[in-house]
């Protein structure tokens, strides 16, 4: 039988992979991949604690979290498509004009 700590360790590993991607990658789509990895890791930790208690409240929160990150991905991909139309590239170092 697994214990809650195992799932929390997996969540920590996924979050550190996401942090690595956010720091290293300059491709806008890879940044969205990293954000999705971090969001999934948080959901995993929430479900592990909800199973430990046990209580369905954690599952309700995870449902909300999944819906919010779906909305976030929709807006992020829209922004990427618009930026690609302007700059002909999805490298965020090319987006210098967006700063001011």
């Amino acid at each position: 039988m697994n214990q809650p700590t195992d799932f929390l360790y997996i969540a920590i590993i996924l979050i550190s992979i996401g942090i690595y991607g956010l720091v290293v990658k300059r491709n806008a789509l890879r940044l969205i991949f990293s954000i999705e990895l971090i969001a999934n890791a948080v959901n995993l930790a929430l479900i592990a604690f909800s199973r430990m208690l046990p209580s369905p409240e954690g599952q309700i929160f995870v449902l909300f979290s999944i819906a919010i990150s779906a909305a976030e991905v929709a807006v992020g991909l829209g922004i990427i498509i618009v930026a690609y139309r302007f700059y002909k590239d999805i490298d965020i170092t090319e987006y210098k004009n967006l700063k001011n």
Binding site: F7, Y9, Y20, G21, V23, A74, G78, I90
Partner: protein, 173 residues
């Protein structure tokens, strides 16, 4: 004590998470991200939350991953492996990720969370409690969430709209 299903799921999830960031082709990265999300859904099934696992597969693998793959096909980036990822940045990223891993891992290992145990008698699959919670106590949150989703989708549509096509079509009607 961890069992073999957990180890297999961990290898699939973490391996395809790394692959999604490090694959040379962006399209393969998107597919690897979808596989990683399927692995997370497998964890949810292990943790006796099959409804959330269904939701995860429907939303993440069915909608988000497909949306990402469509975007990858729309933006034909000339060079997916960019020269901007300098060696210094890569070392900094690895150090930061490893630092977070060691710090959070040691905090977790030394805390009392390690003594927590799962309840031996697994809760029955109570989607009824989830539905009741969603429609009674959390119903305002549900309404706000629906409005957020609708406005986000409308905003994405308005962002990705092309003005030049609209102007060309105007004289015809």
């Amino acid at each position: 004590m961890v069992d073999s299903v957990f180890i297999g799921l961990s290898i699939i999830t973490v391996g395809s998470a790394i692959l999604s960031l490090e694959s040379r082709e962006l399209l393969y990265g998107g597919i690897a991200l979808a596989i990683s999300m399927l692995g997370i859904a497998g964890y949810f099934i292990i943790l006796d939350a099959p409804f959330v696992a269904m939701f995860q597969i429907a939303v993440y693998v069915g909608a988000v991953a497909v949306l990402i793959i469509f975007t990858v096909m729309l933006v034909r980036a000339p060079n997916t492996v960019t020269k901007k990822e300098t060696r210094k940045r890569k070392i900094a990223g690895i150090l930061l990720g490893l630092g977070f891993l060691v710090m959070a891992g040691s905090i977790l290992g030394n805390s009392t969370v390690t003594q927590l145990k799962f309840n031996e008698n697994a809760p029955v699959f109570d989607v009824q409690a989830i539905g009741k919670g969603l429609l009674t106590y959390y119903s305002p949150v549900l309404i706000v969430l629906a409005l957020t989703l609708a406005s986000a989708v409308i905003g994405a549509l308005a962002l990705a709209r092309r003005e030049d096509i609209e102007e060309r079509n105007e004289p015809t009607n």
